[in-house]
Symmetry: C2
Subunit: 270 residues, 2 copies
């Protein structure tokens, strides 16, 4: 008799265009990505399936690789997973797509177990006929070199109180940023990418960092001021919150994962 490996916890990797959603997290009376995802998962994997995302993404924010953990009522055979993934995708609207559906260890939880989250933010220096919902078009000329210099100041352990919206009941504003960089892909000179990796992020943190980097890029703010904003709490960056359209949850990394794959700088579109 051939043994078939089974799994009761699954890990789903999901890409979505968040333009028409009130964010990832399920809400009463609002269309969310988790809501439509759950609606496609339950008929395939069982009504009792419990689903947790690695974290909220705000209204209008996108994902190239959101991760969700799925706790099933009963185990499924691992060789069935490709077919089940296709069945889930058949039930999803065109702007949400399950890239992978894999067995996960017992107790795996997409939010609690996440070791590193990588976000990307896409700034367009020009109007574009194609990728408008997935960029922030900044009309002012931008000094990308100055932005690179300012982004480099973000790596390390800092108090990001200046760069977050105060969520009720939220405790520390200390975040260890593994790396942060501004990239200018040679193949598309009008695109500026900001990418940042940390174990967790505060509410609106990436968008306020990007808004502040754009202030540096236009020359309205000197690069070293970013260090001063990290050193002392200030409400100034709240004025520079970048729009959600340019923001993507790129990858979520868990203990034991291989190095995250390089995702083409042009994704999702231009």
């Amino acid at each position: 008799m051939k043994e078939t490996r089974t799994s009761r916890v699954l890990r789903a990797t999901v890409e979505y265009d968040g333009s028409r959603y009130r964010g990832w997290q399920s809400q009463m009376n609002a269309r969310t990505v988790q809501g439509v995802f759950t609606g496609a998962v339950k008929p395939v994997l069982g009504e009792g399936t419990r689903i947790f995302g690695s974290g909220r993404t705000d209204a209008g924010v996108h994902a190239l690789g959101q991760v969700a953990s799925l706790s099933l009522e009963r185990s499924v055979p691992v060789p069935e997973l490709p077919r089940l993934r296709r069945a889930i995708n058949d039930g999803l609207p065109p702007d949400v797509h399950v890239l992978a559906l894999e067995p996960a260890p017992p107790g795996f939880h997409a939010r609690h177990d996440a070791a590193l989250r990588i976000y990307r933010y896409r700034i367009s220096r020009r109007r574009t006929a194609f990728g408008k919902p997935w960029v922030w078009w900044v009309k002012d000329p931008l000094d990308a070199a100055a932005m690179k210099k300012a982004a480099a100041l973000l790596a390390g352990r800092h108090d990001f109180a200046s760069f977050c919206e105060n969520a009720p009941g939220h405790d520390s504003t200390l975040v260890e940023v593994a790396w942060a960089k501004v990239e200018t892909p040679a193949s598309v000179p009008d695109l500026i990418l900001f990418r940042i990796a940390a174990s967790h992020f505060l509410w609106k943190m990436v968008r306020r960092l990007v808004g502040t980097l754009v202030e540096v890029g236009t020359g309205r703010m000197a690069a070293p001021k970013v260090a001063a904003l990290l050193a002392a709490a200030s409400s100034e960056p709240s004025r520079y919150t970048a729009p959600p359209s340019g923001l993507f949850l790129e990858t979520v990394v868990y203990e034991g994962d291989p190095a995250p794959p390089e995702i083409d700088p042009l994704r999702p579109g231009w």
Copy 2:
């Protein structure tokens, strides 16, 4: 007194998402790209401006670099062109964008003077949350190596009668194909690109070539059969016409132009 160079003929390079248009060419009672382009150009450059595109693109077909010639009622100073381009873009819907507006020699005509046209066709091997309007999603597994072999047979002077829709009053079906190739960009393994360059194309030619290459990719057609279809007129490829969503007019080249720029294989989106 400083001399200011002026020009009475302009060359516009235009990108557009053709999803919501009945093609490039102006038509009565239909929304076309040329129609909205003309509507944005005339208030800026004069009601008597005459506009010619390098060629029709069909309903739903896109462009990364359509070229139009603009014959003005009176000359404009060349240093004014960047400002005029911005004014035209301000009057365009978000899915049409003028990339460049340059002086052209007297008598320049975008269609008559075109030396080479390059098209790209984008095939997706998977469902995608982002680029759906800009690919043809083929669910069958595709053998890209077989498609490459078949595409190589297209270069040279052939009778493409098997691969065109008979347009009334159209004369020869002989076309000299400068090059044709199937590319699989390493950064996006699920994308297959077909690119083809020729002085001119016949109606539906690229879409029928792509549909036939996909037959080869699935294994339903042997690669050498493509040569047989070129050698003898056949109605078979009309059954394989690929959808317009994946087709892009990439570049139009004119005598004296520098080598056309490499356009990132991921453009416009994924």
